[in-house]
């Protein structure tokens, strides 16, 4: 019995908890991508850098608050600074829309034109972030680092394996849950949410029913930018902030959105957790896990690892390709393909 518990705790510590936190961060990012795709009908490639931009402003505001001696006790100060970052990201997204995408909307340009234009926006944001905060690693987490540590868990449970949960991991999951519930209620219940869904379902019909397209577009950008900042700040708190890794997050985020069915918010969330768990589970070495479950004094020869950890990113790539080949509409029937 203890062996089974040990195996479970081991699995939770190295796979369950990290994947759950990572999945929540991806989900927030994928929700933004899927909303933009649903309403504006193009793949917004600057999403990773929009995350970086919002996070950067949050970090700068955090430093300012810290310098003034403000703190949240156990919780990271960055939570207080988050509104500044979100406001800056919203501003950046709306300016990009006004300066770039509004023009192509008037032209009724093809989605691929929007997509390429968004790559341009990506480079601009990319450069801005590097000019302002630089390309280096920034750590801005403060407050209590752990809910409980490995040693504390071991002493409490009497097991030989330990479990640690960082404050930022718990915070990520809780924040993501709250935001997802709020977003789904917004889309289901409010007038604007309904208008957005209508616009996404059938643009012409929505226009005929009196939906104001400018407002729908504006709201979409606002929500996507806030989600991006939240995802970026949580990721940065949990791991670390580096502009390049945010750019790289684009791949798992798009994999998640497409796996779930792009344009479908529910799909984005489910897809994000599937991508996160696959990345971690495929690269985990199950040797110790198997030793607990197997017969006494038995140890497998190898590490029981499917893929070496260097190939973590290729997992999301594989998922992306597999979904596009076999079921391009994704799990929840994204509408646009």
């Amino acid at each position: 019995m203890t062996d089974i518990l040990n195996a479970l705790v081991l699995f939770m510590n190295f796979v369950g908890v990290p994947a759950l936190a990572y999945g929540s961060q991806l989900a927030l990012g994928a929700l933004g991508v899927t909303l933009i795709f649903g309403v504006l009908r193009f793949a917004f490639f600057a999403h990773g850098d929009l995350m970086a931009f919002g996070t950067m402003v949050t970090i700068l505001a955090t430093w300012g608050l810290q310098a003034m001696g403000v703190s949240l006790g156990v919780l990271p100060t960055a939570l207080l600074a988050l509104p500044f970052g979100a406001a800056a990201a919203v501003l950046a997204a709306l300016s990009a829309d006004k300066a770039v995408f509004a023009f192509y909307r008037k032209q009724r340009a093809k989605p691929v034109v929007f997509f390429i234009a968004s790559v341009g926006v990506m480079f601009v944001l990319n450069g801005l972030v590097r000019i302002i905060i630089g390309p280096d690693d920034q750590r801005f987490a403060d407050g209590g680092r752990f809910l409980f540590k490995v040693g504390e868990f071991r002493d409490w449970s009497g097991l030989s394996e330990g479990l640690a949960i960082r404050t930022t991991q718990a915070l990520t999951v809780v924040a993501a849950l709250i935001v997802m519930v709020a977003l789904f209620r917004f889309l289901e219940r409010t007038k604007m949410g309904k208008a957005m869904r209508a616009y996404s379902d059938n643009e012409d019909l929505a226009l005929l029913s009196g939906v104001d397209p400018a407002r729908v577009v504006r709201w979409t950008w606002v929500i996507a930018a806030v989600l991006a900042t939240l995802a970026g700040v949580l990721y940065g708190l949990d791991k670390s902030f580096k502009p390049f890794t945010y750019f790289q997050l684009l791949l798992p985020i798009f994999a998640a959105a497409i796996l779930g069915g792009i344009g479908s918010p529910k799909g984005a969330v489910v897809g994000a957790y599937i991508v996160a768990f696959s990345e971690v589970m495929v690269t985990y070495a199950y040797r110790k896990f198997a030793m607990y479950l197997g017969p006494q004094d038995w140890a497998p020869e190898g590490l029981l690892q499917l893929l070496s950890t260097e190939y973590k990113f290729s997992v999301s790539f594989l998922i992306l390709v597999a979904v596009l080949v076999t079921r391009p509409t994704g799990l929840f029937k994204g509408k646009v393909f």
Binding site: P18, A164, S240, T245, Y284, A285, Q305, S308, T309
Partner: protein
């Protein structure tokens, strides 16, 4: 036969003329280091130290009876072999350097040695390339280094652990020539001492999260983790993830991990960690500190002593050979670096130049107790340290 002889004589003459064409009283020395890239924070101090040696020589009246040494900086980038080769080409073709102090990282050093230094017959002395691959490279006697090979460090680290009774270990290394070379030599030495390396896995630098790497490493069941990476890159990320998840509590570190920033980042969980780092002690090191401080150069920092020594060796070899032609002075590098002869400390280059001009012999000790072994690399002294109460404490020197 006669014609070949004639031709080669003319070639040699032409080469010598080209080398000194710029100005007879000026000898240029390339300072090829990564001023941009992963070790950009280290290189300015290294270049300053190398140029310190050159200005010391110039203040003493120069080499070869009055020729001054001029350092020409060029960017090796540390990681981009093509960019480093282009920079070295420029040093040869448009600057006409007689020798190169550099390069810094092992990968670009191998590239510039193969592509530029050997084809052009240029002497290269690297202060910081430590890959074991450079020991057996085909260099036609042109390459030297004042940093010891990692083959030696692998042995040192293995014996540190063996002496503590460690028999099983997991190894992770940064995915480049340095990390791979050090982990190979460590694994060979550790296994020769009867230990077992249960897993050896690379990690990429510059990622946000290393928990997956640590998960795989800890699944091996080893209690100790050897981290052969960089303190401000993936190495610190691996240790942080290991401490957070409780995957490992005991660490053994290579020289790239030796930095105060590591202790600041990890805190008390690092206590009990052991490691090795090239170190120099004694009057040479003290003399260098004094000389550097007097000249307004900060003496504290990785590879600054080695850089000073590399530049000083070039100057002394030129003086000993009586020529700035690399083909002639390459043979003198080992002579001036090793016994017999008068011992030379930093700040005494003027004295050494005079002894050599008078036909005497010197044994350059320099800032790092220079003793070149094998094909011309530093034997190296390592400091074995242990982290106690949040500070590096010396255990012994090996």
């Amino acid at each position: 036969m006669r014609r070949t002889l004639l031709a080669s004589a003319a070639m040699a003459l032409g080469l010598a003329a080209a080398a000194t064409a710029a100005r007879a009283d000026e000898i240029k020395i390339g300072v090829l280091l990564g001023y941009t890239g992963p070790i950009e924070s280290l290189t300015p101090g290294m270049a300053d130290s190398a140029e310190l040696a050159m200005s010391e020589v110039n203040a003493a009246g120069g080499v070869l009876g009055g020729a001054t040494l001029t350092g020409v900086r060029a960017d090796s980038t540390c990681v981009d072999a093509a960019a480093a080769t282009a920079a070295a080409e420029r040093l040869v073709t448009s600057e006409g350097v007689a020798a190169i102090m550099g390069a810094d990282c092992s990968g670009v050093t191998i590239a510039t040695l193969n592509n530029v230094a050997v084809p052009n017959g240029l002497v290269m002395i690297s202060p910081s390339a430590t890959s074991p691959a450079l020991t057996d490279i085909e260099d036609q006697g042109l390459f030297f280094r004042t940093a010891p090979s990692d083959a030696r460090q692998g042995e040192v680290l293995a014996s540190i652990l063996a002496d503590r009774g460690v028999t099983e270990i997991a190894v992770t290394y940064t995915n480049n020539d340095y990390g791979k070379g050090l982990s190979d030599s460590f694994q060979a030495a550790f296994e020769a001492k009867g230990g077992a390396v249960l897993i050896s896995a690379a990690h990429e630098d510059g990622k946000a999260d290393y928990s997956a790497e640590v998960a795989a490493l800890s699944a091996s069941g080893a209690e100790w983790l050897a981290v052969l990476g960089y303190a401000d890159q993936g190495g610190v990320g691996v240790i942080r993830a290991a401490v957070d998840t409780g995957g490992f509590e005991k660490f053994a570190l290579g020289d790239g991990m030796f930095a105060e920033s590591l202790i600041d980042a990890i805190g008390s969980d690092l206590n009990g960690t052991v490691g090795s780092v090239p170190w120099s002690e004694g009057e040479g090191a003290d003399a260098f500190v004094k000389l550097a401080e007097d000249s307004g150069v900060d003496p504290d920092g990785s590879f600054r002593r080695e850089s000073y020594d590399a530049a000083a060796l070039i100057a002394l070899a030129i003086q000993a050979a009586g020529s700035a032609d690399p083909a002639e002075f390459k043979a003198k590098v080992l002579d001036v670096a090793n016994a017999p002869g008068e011992k030379i400390l930093p700040g005494e280059l003027g004295k050494a130049l005079k002894i050599l001009a008078d036909g005497g012999d010197v044994d350059y000790v320099g800032a790092t107790n220079v003793e070149l072994i094998g094909p011309g690399e530093a034997a190296g002294t390592y400091r074995e340290y242990e982290v106690k109460d949040g500070a590096y404490e010396t255990v012994t020197f090996r």
